[in-house]
C-alpha cells in the first residue's frame, strides 16, 4: 500500500443486519484518503451508523468489496478493528458498572495486545497519554458509571485514541458535550487529522467544524446521495439541500 492509496475503499457494498430479508445499505461506493475529515449527515434511519459498522467490519457485508487500512474487511474484521477507533452512539453506563476510567481506556488496546497476552508498560503509557489528550487524568480512578454523560463520552473517546488508530469513526460524539467540551474535542480532532489520522464523524450539528476543507457525505435510505469536498461552513447547507432532494419529493 502506498501513501496515496485511499485508507477506506468501498465498492458497490451491500450490508444486511442479521435476520433481515433485505440489505440496509445498498450499492455504497466510497473512497477516502488518509487524513481526510469526513462529515456524515442525513435523517434518522438513513444508515449512518450502519455505514460506520460496515467500515469496521462489525456488520455482514453481503456483496461488494471493502478495504480499510489495506485490510479486506470481509476477510478479517478483527484486524481492521485493531486499527480503527469506533465511538458508539448513545452510550450510558449504570452507576454500579464495576470498571474504573483507567480500565475502560486500557480496554481500547485489548485487541492490539492480542489473545493470551497481558498489558505492558507501553499500553499503560498509551492510556496515560490519551487520558491527557482529553484532559481527564483526574478521573482515572473513578468508576465510569458515576461520571456525567459527557465525561463518559470523553472516556470512550480516550478508549479509542488509546490504540493509536489510523481511522476514527465517531457516531454523534457531541450529543452529551457542553459547548466548551465540543470546542475542545474539535480542536483535538483537527490536530489528529493534521497528524494524518482519518476522521469520519456522524453529526447533526455542523457549527464548529475544524477550519479546513472537509468532505461531506449525505445518506438517505441506505444510499449515499452526496459525497464531495467543501469548506466547513457550507456543510450544513449541503445536508439541508440533500434533505429536500428528489427522494423526498
Amino acid at each position: 500500500m502506498t501513501a496515496s492509496d485511499p485508507v477506506i475503499r468501498l465498492e458497490n457494498v451491500y450490508t444486511a443486519y442479521e435476520g433481515a430479508d433485505r440489505p440496509t445499505l445498498t450499492d455504497i461506493s466510497l473512497s477516502i484518503g488518509r487524513g481526510e475529515f469526513v462529515v456524515i449527515g442525513g435523517p434518522n434511519g438513513a444508515g449512518k451508523t450502519t455505514l460506520l459498522e460496515t467500515i469496521n467490519g462489525m456488520l455482514h457485508i453481503t456483496h461488494g468489496k471493502a478495504v480499510v487500512c489495506g485490510q479486506d474487511v470481509r476477510g478479517d474484521g478483527v484486524q481492521v478493528r485493531c486499527r480503527v477507533g469506533y465511538l458508539l452512539q448513545n452510550f450510558a453506563f449504570d452507576p454500579l458498572t464495576p470498571f474504573t476510567v483507567e480500565e475502560v481506556v486500557l480496554m481500547g488496546r485489548y485487541g492490539t495486545i492480542g489473545l493470551f497476552r497481558k498489558p505492558r508498560t507501553e499500553d499503560y503509557e498509551a492510556v496515560k497519554k490519551s487520558l491527557h489528550l482529553l484532559g481527564i487524568e483526574d478521573l482515572a480512578a473513578r468508576p465510569i458509571g458515576q461520571l456525567s454523560g459527557g465525561q463518559q463520552q470523553k472516556v470512550l473517546m480516550a478508549q479509542n485514541l488509546a490504540r493509536n488508530p489510523e481511522v476514527l469513526l465517531l457516531d454523534e460524539p457531541f450529543s452529551n458535550l457542553d459547548m466548551f467540551a465540543r470546542e475542545e474535542i474539535n480542536r483535538l480532532l483537527a490536530r489528529l487529522v493534521g497528524s494524518g489520522i482519518t476522521v469520519l464523524i456522524v453529526s447533526h450539528a455542523f457549527d464548529d467544524l475544524p477550519d479546513r476543507p472537509v468532505r461531506v457525505v449525505v445518506m438517505q435510505e441506505g444510499k449515499i446521495v452526496v459525497s464531495r469536498e467543501c469548506p466547513p461552513k457550507e456543510v450544513e447547507q449541503i445536508v439541508r439541500n440533500a434533505g429536500k432532494g428528489p427522494s423526498h419529493a
Binding site: 464495576p98 470498571f99 480496554m107 497481558k118 478508549q159
Partner: protein
C-alpha cells in the same frame, strides 16, 4: 487430598467436593451475573439435570449425558430464537420447561421401577457416596474454570463491560462467549451429582450477588465470590455431616442467609441511601 486435616474419610471427601464445586461455580457466577446470562445458566443447569436423568434411565454415564445436554442447550438458544421467531428470553423459558418435563418424567418413572434412590440424588445432591475419581474430576474443573478466567481475563472483562464495545476494540467476542458457555456447561454437569439439579443454581448466582454487595471492582469480585462460597460450602458440609442434615440443601439455606446479611450490611447500599 485433605486427609491430613480431616481424618474421617467420608467427611474429608465431602469437604473436598464442596470446596472444588463451590469455587468453580463461584468464579463463574461472577461472569454469569455480570454478563447477565443468568437465565442461560439456569436453563443449562436444568438441561444437565435432565441429561443425567435420561442417562441414568438408559444406563449411560450420567455425567457425560449432562455435559452433552448442557452444551446442547447453550448452542440451541440462538438458532431456536431465530427459527421460531422468539425472544431469547422466551426460548430459554421453553427450553427450561422442556428440560424439567424430561427430567421429572424419567425420575418419576424410575421411581415406579424401584430405582428411585439414585434418582433422588440428582434432585437434592449427595456428598456421601462419591468416588475418588469424581473428586479428582471436580478438582480439575475447578482449575479449568480458574485458568479460563485468568487466561482470557482481558477478553472476559471486556465482554462483561459491553459486548459491542468489546467487539469494536478488536476482540473476537463470539468464540470467547461460546467458550464461556462451554465452561459453564462442563462445571454444571460435574457439580450436579453433589449439589443436585434443584439447588445448583444457588451456587451459580449467590456468590457473585454476595460479593457485589462489598466490591466495586471486578478483580476483587473474582476473589471474594469464591472465598465466600468456599467458606459457606465447607461449613455446610461439616455441620450437615455432624448433625446428619442434608448437606446441599443446608448449604443453600446458608448461602441465602449470608446473602440477606450481606445486603443489610452492604456499604454500597448505604451510599445509595445517602444519595437519596
Amino acid at each position: 487430598m485433605l486427609e491430613f486435616i480431616i481424618p474421617n474419610n467420608i467427611v474429608c471427601h465431602a469437604v473436598e467436593a464442596m470446596l472444588f464445586a463451590s469455587v468453580a461455580c463461584a468464579v463463574l457466577s461472577v461472569i454469569i451475573t455480570q454478563v447477565q446470562i443468568s437465565s442461560i445458566g439456569f436453563t443449562m443447569a436444568h438441561a444437565a439435570f435432565a441429561g443425567a436423568a435420561v442417562g441414568m434411565f438408559l444406563s449411560l454415564n450420567p455425567t457425560v449425558c449432562s455435559i452433552v445436554a448442557g452444551v446442547a442447550v447453550a448452542f440451541l438458544i440462538g438458532p431456536l430464537s431465530d427459527r421460531a421467531r422468539l425472544s431469547p428470553d422466551t426460548s430459554l423459558g421453553l427450553l427450561f420447561g422442556i428440560c424439567m418435563a424430561v427430567a421429572i418424567f424419567f425420575i418419576a418413572y424410575m421411581q415406579t421401577l424401584g430405582q428411585g434412590f439414585s434418582a433422588m440424588g440428582l434432585l437434592f445432591g449427595d456428598v456421601i457416596s462419591l468416588y475418588r475419581e469424581e473428586i479428582y474430576l471436580l478438582a480439575v474443573i475447578c482449575i479449568v474454570a480458574i485458568a479460563f478466567i485468568v487466561v482470557l481475563y482481558k477478553e472476559i472483562t471486556a465482554i462483561i463491560f459491553d459486548k459491542r464495545i468489546a467487539e469494536s476494540v478488536g476482540i473476537r467476542v463470539k468464540p470467547v462467549y461460546y467458550a464461556m458457555l462451554f465452561v459453564i456447561a462442563l462445571t454444571v454437569a460435574l457439580c450436579l451429582p453433589i449439589i443436585g439439579g434443584l439447588l445448583l443454581y444457588v451456587w451459580l448466582v449467590t456468590p457473585a450477588a454476595i460479593a457485589l454487595q462489598f466490591c466495586n471492582r471486578l478483580s476483587t469480585m473474582f476473589v471474594v465470590a469464591p472465598t465466600v462460597a468456599a467458606v459457606i460450602s465447607i461449613s455446610g458440609a461439616l455441620v450437615g455431616l455432624e448433625y446428619s442434615l442434608p448437606v446441599a440443601p443446608l448449604t443453600a439455606v446458608l448461602f441465602s442467609a449470608v446473602f440477606i446479611a450481606a445486603v443489610l450490611l452492604s456499604p454500597r447500599r448505604r451510599v445509595t441511601f445517602r444519595k437519596i
